[in-house]
């Protein structure tokens, strides 16, 4: 079945089986392997991407259901030379160890800023990261990074 969508600003047309998950389309067809699969059961958030501006778990969405949408993945937010302010904040605050959860964490964090603004208190960040699991860091540095990244996003968009 044919599916047409925009991924990181590029128009994509693929012929896929209806059972293809969005994350499979991204990773296996488009080789956008920054989006990870941690659990495949909608728990961990390693697979979070933005569809039409909203964070979703791409392991729990059919690619065909995303027909006509605009998808943004971790590859679409910055470049190696110019990291997105949230990526920069994760690096600066050492908010990752193995890095497996990081793409999903960053996509969720940008979504939090889009919904809740640039001034985020610790409680809000922890509540809003409920759908993202990290097995390494113990979260403290992630929470710090999200707060700093949120503030940096205000400056960079100003």
């Amino acid at each position: 079945m044919k599916v047409t969508l925009t991924v990181n600003g590029q128009s994509v047309i693929e012929d896929i089986e209806p059972r293809t998950l969005l994350v499979q389309l991204l990773r296996d067809r488009l080789q956008l392997t920054g989006t990870h699969v941690g659990c495949d059961t909608s728990q961990c958030g390693a697979c979070v991407v933005h569809v039409d501006g909203r964070a979703i778990k791409s392991c729990t969405a059919l690619a065909v259901s995303c027909e006509g949408t605009k998808v943004i993945t971790i590859e679409g937010i910055g470049t190696e030379d110019h990291l997105h302010p949230m990526q920069e904040a994760f690096r600066e605050h050492h908010a990752l160890q193995c890095g497996y959860c990081t793409p999903g964490m960053i996509m969720s964090s940008i979504d939090i800023v889009n919904r809740k603004g640039h001034k985020l208190d610790e409680h809000t960040i922890r509540e809003e990261l409920e759908g993202n699991i990290c097995r390494c860091t113990g979260y403290h540095k992630i929470v710090k990074a999200v707060g700093a990244g949120a503030a940096a996003m205000a400056k960079s968009s100003a």
Partner: protein, 266 residues
């Protein structure tokens, strides 16, 4: 996941026809329950009828003293709707506390009610408020709609289209969450509408969501925490599992009922 055919019809009528014309066809809403179930091969639909293309199922409005929510309205949309916040503010809170932000962006009110998970939040709210369920074929009361664990009155070829909530004098919902899954170990919804006071419990019932007549009678006389203080819950009605025993759930229901009444009264 087994393979299946996929359709995305633009109208309810076409969706209903498609559903009726293939055996083992299933409706897809947000997919937050159905897709995990299919991955585990616990469901094997031949065709998925995606309701995501039907614009008419995505609106929230106020009609004749009712708050009308389309089946495909996401938890995120309910949580952030001015219409919901002004009509039944704590119903927006119910939606805001379901799952996580990503689940709320896709999961729908219709999917949650049609699934009738015994630990889901919306069934308690809908039963306490005395909601009416509009389907592609008929109108059902909340009592008739919920039929036990993961079971509703919906027929195989029937689509839930709208939920009509009476606008209450007051409404509150309190949940004690399983610390790991965050699903309710006990959640209690309390509502006072023109039809009277109703109390509904989720997460704890051996047979799914249920009402508590003794608490309803007591709160009808006096809508205060003190009115229900002495009311015990029959443990025979309750489920026991590795997460909580029936006796513990009985105690949780009392405490959550107290919190829900406090919330509703404030």
């Amino acid at each position: 996941m087994y393979s299946f055919d996929y359709q995305r019809p633009p109208t309810i009528e076409e969706a209903a026809t498609a559903l009726a014309s293939s055996p083992d066809a299933k409706v897809l809403a947000g997919g937050q329950t159905l897709l995990p179930t299919m991955k585990q091969r616990l469901a094997r639909p031949s065709v998925l009828i995606d309701l995501g293309g039907i614009a008419g199922l995505q609106s929230i409005s106020r009609k004749d003293g009712m708050l009308v929510i389309g089946a495909m309205v996401t938890h995120h949309a309910v949580a952030n709707s001015q219409e919901v916040k002004s009509a039944i503010p704590h119903l927006a809170d119910v939606a805001e506390n379901i799952g996580d932000p990503q689940v709320r962006n896709r999961g729908t009110i219709g999917g949650s009610l049609a699934n009738n998970d015994p630990a889901a939040d919306y069934p308690a709210a809908a039963l306490a408020l005395g909601a009416t369920f509009k389907t592609s074929q008929r109108t059902l009361s909340a009592e008739d709609f919920f039929q036990g664990l993961f079971t509703t009155a919906l027929k195989e070829n029937e689509i839930l289209t709208e939920i009509h909530f009476p606008i209450p004098k007051r409404f509150g919902y309190a949940r004690f969450s399983n610390p790991a899954s965050r699903f309710a170990l006990a959640g209690v919804a309390v509502a006072e509408t023109a039809a009277g006071v109703r109390v509904a419990v989720t997460g704890a019932g051996a047979d799914g969501v249920f009402r508590v007549p003794a608490m309803e009678a007591a709160l009808s006389k006096s809508f205060a925490v003190s009115a229900i203080a002495g009311i015990a819950i029959d443990v025979k009605l309750l489920g026991s599992d590795i997460h909580a025993g029936a006796d513990y759930r009985a105690q949780l229901i009392k405490v959550m009922a107290r919190d829900a009444v406090t919330m509703a009264a404030s």
